[in-house]
């Protein structure tokens, strides 16, 4: 059962990777990377159960958090081209 689930998720990961490679715009790629990260979280959780040592959920937890940080960093970079926003400018366009 776990094996079937893991295989299914693997196939889906390949699909998401194809989108990340093809993606015409940058946003497509970001979205694919994000979806890929979510699937990796699921895969790690299933793998933990598959190997009979399910106390390794910490890794999946870390993935879920770090993936979010990575996505936000990429978006921020695209939007402002700079990591240090907001600078001390009052009229910065501030809708992300």
């Amino acid at each position: 059962m776990f094996v079937a689930t893991a295989l299914g998720i693997l196939v889906c990961m390949i699909l998401a990777m194809a989108r990340a490679l093809l993606g015409p715009t940058v946003y497509d790629r970001i979205m694919a990377v994000n979806a890929f990260g979510t699937k990796t979280v699921l895969l790690i959780a299933v793998l933990g159960f598959m190997s009979g040592r399910p106390d390794f959920m910490d890794i999946a937890l870390v993935y879920a958090l770090i993936n979010f940080i990575g996505t936000i960093a990429v978006l921020k970079f695209i939007r402002y081209g700079d990591m240090g926003w907001p600078r001390n400018m009052p009229d910065e366009p501030d809708d992300l």
Partner: protein
């Protein structure tokens, strides 16, 4: 009792894989960015939820289930936020093609 738990978790895992698969196919096949975003949402909510639910059935009332619940909460908190930020960034970008809705329907009705 054991077979019931196995059955439930098997069903949940199957459903989860189905939804993840639908989301992935949608991610690959949908015509433009915004519709793809819609497909990716399925993976994040229903797919992840069902798979983690199936694993929770197997975990029983232990620390593992608590951690799975935490993963689920984190996923449900972070992925809509990321999607929100992503769509806002995409909409604000003039180089990016705008959604089809704006081109086809007159802007008067909304």
């Amino acid at each position: 009792m054991s077979w019931l738990i196995d059955l439930l978790s098997g069903l949940a895992l199957l459903g989860g894989v189905f939804f993840v698969g639908v989301g992935s196919v949608g991610l690959l096949r949908m015509p433009d960015f915004y519709t793809r975003m819609h497909a990716a949402g399925i993976t994040d909510t229903l797919g992840a939820g069902l798979i983690l639910l199936g694993l929770m059935f197997q975990g029983g009332w232990t620390l593992i289930t608590a951690k799975l619940l935490l993963i689920l909460i984190f996923l449900w908190m972070t992925s809509p936020t990321a999607s929100h930020a992503l769509v806002k960034a995409a909409l604000a970008d003039p180089d990016n093609p705008q959604p089809l809705l704006h081109k086809e329907s007159p802007p008067s009705n909304s």
